[in-house]
Each structure stands twice: as structure tokens, then as C-alpha cells.
Symmetry: C2
Subunit: 351 residues, 2 copies
């Protein structure tokens, strides 16, 4: 292959340590970050990709455009509170929203497995359009591939989103500064537990449904109110803990949070205990954290509380300069604990 001349044997992922891809390489933890840093960022060299943010931002003529992409391989396809279709719309909309971009258009690429029930496909496709309507965005272009039976898993969906940035803030990890307040938009852990319940055939005494939802409306209110937002991140793969660690590392700052302020529903907490999960690492699909200027925290909380998707928002902590790259949590019983990424994730194929 003449095109592969640039194969780089000095890549920081040691091929002898990891000669094969593991499920954990796709799960939002340390191994996935090693794969991104050790393979993708080494090959794909450009400024935007190296910012480690949910969306890339480009200047086109006089406009600032955000681009983000995500593939969805969630198993099962249908779960309480959503399905792979609505999730593929909201997830990508949310990644745009996290850079303060309002969605203009989505593309969709399907990889279908031979033998998939046509009725399931139609359900998913209709669910995508309902979700797109709810988020106020059009699906403008698409592609379909079919792979042989046993070489796929029903439906995989890629959605790529284009958004327009109308403000002048640089909403990204490197904009986080000493003193910033960290707001969480609501309770955590529901998406992961909802998926797990279906996958393992578990029944809880209460109904736990995914928090999957489009965040562009709430984010738009925050931006319109002129709150100084430094960074936002949705709490998907790897959950709250991984998002905080990634931002602390990229912004080279310390983050200190208070466990008492992190909303977790009692039934979710109970399910986590039974399953041996820590809600800090469980994936969400409609929750995010915002790093805002300390003076703006109350104004920001008021706006969160005025929106259905932010009604339980809380300030969970602050940024300081003490131990760059670290995340510390004051636990419910008052002790301090270091928060780190998991190497893989508790729940593969959660999104």
C-alpha cells in the first residue's frame, strides 16, 4: 500500500500492550483517550481536532460554523425514554449546543444489517423525524449501507451536525479559568440505568427512563441572557466524572466538587448500588455541566430553573489553580476523594 508509508511505529499506544481493539477503547475512559491521543491525533494533525471539544469550529466567510459527528451503536435499539433514532438526533444536537452553536442541519448515515425487520427501521426513522422537529432542525442529506447478516447489529446510525455560532465567546475547555463556578443541569445516571434494565431484563419498583433530550433550547437561553460561559460538556460516555477529568486536564486547572450537590434520584442510586455502578460514571443523554464566571452563577441558575430540562440544576463546585489537572470531590460524609477516569467504562454500547 503506497498510501501507508506514513505508518508510525513510534505511536504512544504500544501495539505490544494493546495489539487489538477492546470494547473499552470505545467507552469514554482512559483507554479511549489513549486511542484518540495515540492514534487519531498523531495521524490527523490540525488545530481544531487538538482542542478536545465536542465540536470543531470553523470560520467560513464571515460566519462561525460548528461541526460535530457521532455514531450510535446503542444496544438495545429501543429503551424507556427513547430509541437509537431520537438519541442520534439529540446526541448530535447536544454536541453542537456544547460549543454554543445552534443547529442548522443534520446528515444521517445508516449501516443496516441484512435481515433487519423493516418495521423496526421505519419506527426508528419516524422517531428521528419527531426528534428533529422537537429540536427544530432538518435532516438534509443521508446515506444507507447494508452489511451481511452477522457483520452488523441491526442499526448503526451516524449523525453529523452543522451549527451556527452567533456569540463571541470561546466555549471550550481551554477557556476555563480559576474561580469559575460549575453548574450541573439536573440529576444524573438515568440513561445508563434505563439501558441496563432492558439489557439485563431487570425490573425496579419505579420506572427509570432515559434523560435523552435536546439541550439547544436551554443553551440558547443561557447565551441570550449574556451569561459569561467558559465551557459546557454533556455527560455522555464516562458520565460526570470523565467530563470533569477531561476538562481539568485540558484546561490545566483543579476542579473541586461537592457530592451533596450532585442530584441523583433515589431509585437510580438504589439501582446503581444493586448493579455495583457509581452514578458519577454512568452515561446521561440530556444532562450537561456549564463552567460560568463566578459572578454569573445565580443569574445562570435562574435561567436553568426556568427550563424543564434544567429545573433541578445546582452549582456543584468551583475551579481553582492549586493542583492543575486534578478533580477532587468532598463526599457525603465530608471526606475528600480524588476523582479519576475509569480505564474502560461500566456499560459498553450505551450510546
Amino acid at each position: 500500500m503506497s498510501e501507508n508509508k506514513e505508518f508510525n511505529p513510534s505511536c504512544p499506544i504500544s501495539i505490544s500492550d494493546y495489539p487489538n481493539v477492546l470494547l473499552a477503547h470505545g467507552s469514554g475512559g482512559t483507554l479511549m483517550n489513549q486511542l484518540i491521543d495515540g492514534v487519531f491525533k498523531i495521524a490527523f494533525k490540525n488545530k481544531e481536532l487538538h482542542k478536545s471539544h465536542d465540536a470543531a469550529v470553523l470560520n467560513i466567510d464571515s460566519s462561525k460554523i460548528a461541526i460535530t459527528t457521532d455514531s450510535y451503536v446503542v444496544d438495545p435499539l429501543f429503551f424507556p425514554g427513547g430509541d437509537i433514532g431520537s438519541m442520534a438526533i439529540y446526541g448530535t444536537i447536544n454536541d453542537l449546543a456544547m460549543s454554543g452553536a445552534m443547529p442548522i442541519a443534520l446528515s444521517v448515515g445508516f449501516i443496516l444489517e441484512e435481515g433487519l425487520e423493516m418495521e423496526k427501521l421505519i419506527k426508528v426513522v419516524n422517531s428521528m423525524q419527531v426528534a428533529a422537529n422537537k429540536a427544530g432542525v432538518d435532516i438534509v442529506t443521508g446515506d444507507t449501507k447494508v452489511v451481511d447478516r452477522g457483520k452488523g447489529d441491526g442499526i448503526f446510525i451516524n449523525t453529523t451536525g452543522i451549527g451556527l455560532i452567533k456569540h463571541n465567546m470561546s466555549i471550550e475547555p481551554s477557556s476555563v479559568v480559576d474561580g469559575d463556578a460549575i453548574i450541573i443541569s439536573g440529576d444524573i445516571g438515568r440513561h445508563g440505568i434505563a439501558i441496563m434494565a432492558v439489557r439485563e431484563g431487570l425490573e425496579f419498583s419505579t420506572f427509570i427512563e432515559s434523560d435523552s433530550a435536546p439541550l439547544n433550547g436551554l443553551v440558547s437561553k443561557l447565551i441570550d441572557s449574556k451569561i459569561e460561559i467558559h465551557c459546557m460538556r454533556d455527560l455522555t460516555r464516562g458520565g460526570l466524572a470523565s467530563a470533569l477529568v477531561e476538562i481539568a486536564k485540558t484546561s490545566n486547572s483543579q476542579i473541586t466538587i461537592d457530592e451533596n450537590n450532585i442530584p441523583v434520584r433515589e431509585d437510580v442510586r438504589g439501582a446503581c448500588e444493586i448493579l455495583g455502578f457509581d452514578p458519577m460514571y454512568v452515561a446521561n443523554e440530556g444532562r450537561f455541566i456549564a463552567f460560568v464566571k463566578r459572578d454569573d452563577v445565580n443569574k445562570a441558575l435562574n435561567i436553568f430553573h426556568s427550563d424543564e430540562l434544567g429545573k433541578d440544576a445546582k452549582c456543584i463546585g468551583y475551579v481553582s489553580a492549586d493542583k492543575p489537572g486534578s478533580v477532587t470531590m468532598r463526599s457525603c460524609i465530608g471526606t475528600m476523594r480524588v476523582v479519576d477516569m475509569l480505564s474502560g467504562e461500566q456499560l459498553p454500547r450505551i450510546c
Copy 2:
């Protein structure tokens, strides 16, 4: 699922005829078109998607932006003349070029199968960057998912491309008019045969390699020279025949071509005969047709011939208004033959 209320039982794809997805639904023929019209276009209602073109065109502030998406599931991952990585770059660049858009940025989404050799991934990723350099575009954002062993097939790649349109032409099927000349950029059939040779372990007396290549350079020359281009289409899944039929139907015009003018290499023709394929339907990855104003045909051919990727370009036929939606070919022996789409395709997973 409350989100699936809009499930449409009157969909034109009869679920009783096709209760399950077939490989042919992804192969560029009649069944794929039925799936697009009967499922996707019914659910995803908007003007851009209904244009049946390779890329959607959006007006953002004062700029005209093209967006296109493609997933690549080619089997095998490596083949003479390319691999899934270079193909995922060129294929998407080419879809942008077909609307006259010059690429600005690409996103990339990987779906990896657990157990994939890391070395293969690194080879593919490096090949993508070499291809991106060759086409002059950056990969600005990405995503990686890993699925369990036996639920994927090594590497699937989605690339979505954003391009900028700097001209004022509407280069799309509906712009085709009576009298247009049709130019083909070069010989056809090599990509499909190259893939087939590896897949089936065939050996030919000559070396047949894929024509996979980025077309944005050649298209840019055509646009800069002010040639009046009405439509362009790359000849991927379904080959030349399917592209012509799609355009004849969308533009409601008749297309008449001359088989003697369609370049096919002797070794490719021989391989097609052995394998029972018609080169008219075999996929290409670096070939396209351009519908140009009849007066511009010689000027256009000169530009094609000045570029390595167009040096064997020929005018293969003309558009007329006689039998709207039909494609007719004068065969080598002088008889007239109707060209139609295949229902599926000769070669699944060719791209």
C-alpha cells in the same frame, strides 16, 4: 414508545413484500431507491433531501455550503489502489465536488469491532491523512465507537464533508436540459473488479487497481473555466447505468448514449466477462459524468484532457426531451438498448 406515534403504515415499501432489509437495499439499484423514497423521504420531509443529489446545499449568512455524508463498509479493508481509509476521504470529497463545492472540512466516525488489530487501524488512519493531504482538506472532528466481536466487521467509517460553493450554477439533476452533452471522465469498472479480485482470490494477467481518487482538483478547473455545468455525478454504487437512470428520472429527460464511446480497459472487460458482470453497472471511485451545455463540450473536453484524472474523457451522449425518464444506448453493434437500474447490485459492500 410515545415518540413513534407517526409510524406510517401506508408507506410505499410494502412491509409484506420486504419485511426484512436485504443486502440489495444498500446497493444503489431499484430496491435502494425504493427504500429511500418509501422510508427515508417519507419520514424526513424537507426540500434539500428531496433533490436526490449527492450533497445538500444550504445558505448560511451570505455563504453557500454543501454537506454530504457517506458510510464506508467495503470488504476487504485493503485492496489494490486503496483501502477503506483513502476511500472514505475521496468518496466524500467527490460527493462535494459533484455539486461544485470545494471541501473545507471533514468529520470522521469510526465503528470498530472488538478484536480489530490495532496495526490495521493505524494503517487505515494514516492512509486517511495521506488522502486528506492529497485532497487538501482537514479532518476536524471525530468519534469512535467499539462494538462487540461479531457485531461489526473490522472497521466501518463514516465521513461527512462540508464544502463551499463559490459559483452561481445549480449543479443538480433538475438543471439538466434538452441538448446537454454528457462527458465521462475516463474508463469504468476498475474499482469493482479490483475489489472482486481480492475478495474471490482471482488473479488476472494484468494488474487491475481501483480508480479511487479525489476529483475536486479537476472539478475546480472546470468551474474556474466558466463552463456551463448542469449536473455532475460520480459513478459509485450501481455504476454508470444507475447514475444515468437516476438523472434521467429526476430531470424528466431522455438520455441517449453510445457504447462505443464508453472507455473500458481490455483487462477489465475480460474480467467482467469471466465474472458475468456488465461494466455499465460496476462501481467506480474516481470517475464521474458531467452534463454540460452543448456549446461548451469541446472546451470542457480540453480541460478534462489536461488533468491526469480526465485524460481519457469522452463525450458519451446527449440529453433530449423525447422519452422523459429513459436511458437508451446504441450498442457496439449498432442496435438500440434500453438501460435500466438493476434491482440490487452485482457486488455488495463495494464501498
